[in-house]
Structures are given as C-alpha cells and as structure tokens.
Amino acid sequence: MNVVAVVVVAVFYALHQDVWFWREARPLVFGFLPIGLFYHAAYTVGCALLLWLLVKTTWPGHLDSSSDE
C-alpha cells in the first residue's frame, strides 16, 4: 500500500469521528433519518467506494502464483 493510499485511509478514518453532528438531530433526511445516522450510513457507502479504489490501485497481485487476474 503506497503512501497516498495510507494518507487517504487515515483521513477517512478521521472522518468517522464526526464531532460536527454530535448534538444535532436535524435535519431529518428524507423526513425521518437523523443527520448523525444519515452521515454514518453515507460514510459506509463511502467505505465501499474507498475500498473499490484501494482494490483497483493497491491490489497485491504479486501474492497470487496462479493466474486469476
């Protein structure tokens, strides 16, 4: 995993600590989802995108002796 990837992961890890929505329930996204819960649901989707990017850019293909690529 290269330096850029490590920095991006560290930033993403820090974004989990969303103190900016700590005491806020509103707005209720879609009329029923508190903003703090919506943020973490969106963060989870962001995780999938980040991991897709990491798989694309830092895949440890050298570990595979067979040709599955």
Binding site: V9, L63, S65
Partner: protein, 540 residues
C-alpha cells in the same frame, strides 16, 4: 404455530446442507477438504459466509436493543467503523494469510506463527489464549438456541430441550459438512439477514403510520431527543470503538476462513461489498431500535419505556436491587421481536424467528475453528498425525466437534448467561490486543517469538484485570464514574456505567497499543532470537 414451523424448517435445512456438503466432498476425507473446504470456496459463498461468520446474534437482536436504549450512536459505534476496518484488514492481512496458507500449507494462524518465529510451546500458549477467548461464544449460542426455541414454541419446548436440539443440529452439520457445510449454512444465514432487514423496515414503517411522525415525536420529548444525537456520550468513548473491529481478523475462525478462498481474486468482491452488507443489515436494525421508542401502542414496549422513566427519575436514590430490576425490565434485546409482534403480519414474524435462530447458530464457525486448531495445533503438532495418519486427524476433528458441543451444552445448563455475555465483551478487546501478532508476523522482519509471547501474556493479563475491575465494582448510576486508580491528580482508571475506562477510553485502546509496543520493545531486546535466514526468505 407458523413461527415454530418456519424455525424447525430452518433447522432441517441447515442439517440437510451439512449432509449434502458431506456428499459433495471431493477430497476423499483429507484434513484440508474437511477443515478448509479444500481451499475451494467461490466468490459469492466466500463473501456471504465470511460476512455471516462475523455476524453474531448481536447483529440482529443486540444492535436493536442497544439502539433502543442508546440511540443512533449504535450504528457509528459498531457498524460504520467495522465497515472500514474489517474489509481493510481483509485486504491488507487476509490476502497475505491466504497466500502464506497456499504456499506453506497452513491451516491455522498458530501454524504460521510457529513457522514464522521458529517456536513450539509459545505457539501452544497462543492457541490456549485464543481457545479460552472463543469458548464463551459457543456456550452463549447453546443458551440462545434454548431460549429461542422455548419462546417460539410458547414454552412447549423447555430450555434444556431447545438447547439440545440446536446443539445437535449445529454439531450435525459441522460434523458432517466441515467447512463446506458451515460456509453454506452461513451463506443462507446472511441471505436471511439481508432479506429481513429491508422487509422489516417497510412493513413496520407502514404499521406505525410512517417513520416521519415517530421521529418528530421523539425530537419533541426531552427524554427521547438525545437518542437522535450522541450528546450523552464522550467522543473518546466513540473513538475507542474503532479499535474493536481489529479483533475480526485476529479471531481464529475469520483467519481460517481467509484460507478457504479458491483464488486471491475472490477477496476483491468481499472487500468492496462488505460495507454494503453492513449497511443493509445494521441500518434497519439500529433504526428500528430507535423508532421503537415511539411505539407506545405496543404494550410490551410501553412497559420498557415506563421502567426506563422510573429508573431515570429515581436516580441515585434507588436501592441496587430495584435498579437492577428496572434495568432488566427496560432492556431492549427483544425490542425488534416486540415491534414485529405489534405491527407485522405473522409471516414476517416467522421469517424473523428463522433469522433469530440463524443468528444464535452463528457459533458453527467457532466450533469448527476450535476443532481445526485442536487437531492442527495440538494433535498434529505433537505427533498425532505422524503416528496415526491424516485420516485419523479428520476423525479427531470430528470427535472434538462432538466433545466441545457436549461440554458447551452441559455448561449452558448449569451457569447463568450473564457470565458468558460479559466474557464475550472481553473477548473482543482480547482479540483486538492480539492483532499485533498478525501484523508483526506478516510485515515486520524484526519481530521475534519473545515479542509474540509478551504480547500474548499481556493480552491474557489485561483481559483478566478488566474483568475483575468490572465485576468487583458495581456499575454507578448514569452520568457518574467511580475512580479506581488515580495518579498525578488524574483519574487513570474509572468504573463508569458502560464499563471500566482508562483515561476516558475503553480498555481495548490501551490494551492494543501496549500490545503493539510490547511486540516492538521485546523483539528489539531479543534480536538474537530472530528466525534463520531460510525462514525469513520464505516470508519477505
């Protein structure tokens, strides 16, 4: 009645899967085929079964109960942090474990540790600590099975018989199907969870007349508005929970699961889709748990809310026995069951029954992992395989599956569940503290067996110390903390309502950091014990 039929149908299907997996075995009964499904799982089964192995009863029932009492913080504490850390650890560590297992024939993490650090008995010690931390999960599953069958049958099936039936079914498909059967049952379990979450939100939402009105009513009440924020929790407590998912890759059953993929490429979809599965299962569970606070028309939920209000108004003036009674009444572990009873048709209740049964049967991978560890790390390592042959090794594994099931069942009948509930909480912190072992073995040339031993001893001592503090000092009333050890004018260790804290962090944080520091410091101090060049060349 319908719920009982669906639950028993699920049990029958699980057992059949195990027997079908036994018939599908292609390895002629060798150990690799039984314990690792011949390292041949395809991408879909690998993703769903690995995910299922990580999901315990807590994901469906406990998450809703925790959210009912604590609010939306539950998702951030346990789901979104896991959605980043677990797949990341699969990408960074899991793929390396897979490759080393392929190249050198490892079937357990301890086999790799022994080879990597050229040690014998230290490996046995690591095995023992791992096994002790794993056993409570198996006992809890027996208890959960007994309770669930007793509940869905309306008490017709007593606890002892329900526990026996569930134990026999799990033992049956693990005994016959080995890893292949376990992976297929876990796949079915994950599909059930994924289906239930979405359907439950839609059906219960319709039953409650939409969630908007429910959420608006929660924001208007001073008692429930904090549930939609995280204002009652400290950011340090929230941060601490990001260390818990480190335990996942260190759990032996997850490490062993990493060895079952047919190709390295199967990790790709698992890594990318893991967060999506987390979202699909945890968001409905947490949201429904929070929304239950507005379900006043369901009598069982209203009784919980009244007990909670009495607990809050009584504050520190309540007698400890009254406080414990009210806490038990206000407990929300069955809140999703009550929501389904109150708002959903009987067919959804039946699916939920099957989901709950699937969740409490999640101990299958732990039983198989313990069996694999015992046969490989103890029986084979100490000469059993050489003396009796590989066929006897599989038989030993199967006998171990039977023995561990019987032992777990007997303990489950004789001891209170609360002990094992607590033990599993410590196990997460313990396995997080063991994660530096894997990182050092795979990535750090300078690590030595003495560093590994120091890390493992520290983990065992720390888990016992936290358990003693937590059990010997009663939980104080909400909003307060009891100092346990103070130094330099600061409270270093405190006992808070949610457990022991170290400088405001959960114990898992210092446990994991000290563990990593010990690995580094002791390895540097014992550099003369570095493995030979031949060993090093095989890893770096």
């Amino acid at each position: 009645m319908i719920q009982s039929v669906v639950v028993f149908a699920y049990l029958a299907i699980a057992l059949y899967i195990g027997i079908f997996a036994f018939r599908s075995s292609r390895g002629g009964g060798n150990a690799e085929d039984y314990f690792l499904a011949g390292r041949s799982l395809g991408p879909a089964v690998f993703l769903l079964s690995l995910f299922g192995a990580n999901m315990t009863a807590f994901s469906i029932l406990g998450a809703s109960g925790h959210a009912f009492a604590n609010g939306i913080i539950t998702y951030g504490l346990m789901a979104s942090s896991s959605a980043l850390i677990i797949p990341l650890s699969l990408l960074v560590i899991g793929t390396r474990l897979w490759a080393l297992g392929r190249r050198h024939g490892f079937m357990t993490p301890v086999q790799m540790f022994r080879d990597r650090w050229e040690c014998a008995h230290i490996g046995t010690f690591i095995f023992a600590v791992q096994a002790v931390l794993l056993v409570p999960y198996i006992i809890i599953a027996v208890m959960g099975g007994g309770t669930t069958l007793a509940a869905v049958s309306g008490g017709v099936i007593p606890f002892w018989l329900g526990g026996a039936i569930v134990s026999l079914v799990v033992m049956g498909y693990v005994f016959f199907g080995g890893m292949r059967g376990t992976a297929w049952v876990n796949t079915l379990q994950t599909i059930l969870f994924l289906l239930f979450g979405t359907i439950a939100v839609v059906v219960i939402g319709a039953g409650m007349g939409g969630f908007s009105a429910a959420m608006e009513s929660l924001t208007r009440s001073a008692a429930t508005a904090p549930l939609l924020t995280r204002e009652r929790f400290s950011p340090l407590y929230f941060f601490s929970y990001t260390f818990i998912p480190l335990s996942s890759i260190a759990f032996p059953h997850i490490g062993i699961f990493c060895l079952t993929a047919q190709r390295l490429g199967h990790f790709r979809k698992t890594v990318i889709l893991y967060p999506v599965c987390m979202l699909a299962i945890w968001l409905p569970s947490v949201f429904l748990g929070v929304a239950a606070n507005a379900a006043h028309e369901v009598p069982a939920i209203e009784a919980k809310l009244e007990a909670r209000a009495e607990l809050a108004s009584g504050g520190g003036t309540l007698a400890p026995t009254d406080r414990d009674r009210l806490r038990a009444q206000a407990g929300g572990d069955d809140v999703i069951l009550r929501l389904v009873d109150g708002y959903a048709p009987v067919w959804l209740a039946a699916i939920l029954g099957a989901c709950v049964m699937a969740a409490v049967m999640a101990s299958d991978s732990q039983i198989l992992a313990l069996s694999t560890m015992f046969t490989e790390d103890v029986f084979a390592f100490y000469g059993g395989k050489a003396r009796f042959g590989p066929a006897v090794q599989v038989t030993t594994g199967r006998i171990f599956v039977v023995l561990i099931t019987i032992v777990a069942y007997v303990i489950a009948l004789r001891m209170p569940q609360s002990i094992f509930d607590i033990a599993t909480q410590y196990a997460f912190a313990g396995y997080s503290a063991l994660s530096p072992l894997l990182v050092a073995a795979i990535f750090w040339r300078g690590s030595t067996r003495w560093g590994a031993l120091a890390t493992t001893i520290w983990t065992a001592v720390a888990v016992v110390a936290v358990a003693v503090i937590q059990q010997s000092i009663p939980a104080p009333p909400p909003g307060s903390a009891v100092p346990v050890w103070s130094a330099f004018g600061a409270d270093i260790i405190t006992r808070a309502p949610q457990g022991a804290l170290v400088l405001g962090f959960l114990p898992v944080v210092p446990m994991t950091i000290v563990s990593a520091l010990l690995m580094w410091a002791v390895s540097r101090a014992t550099a003369s014990a570095l493995p030979s060049d031949t060993t090093m060349r095989r890893y770096f």
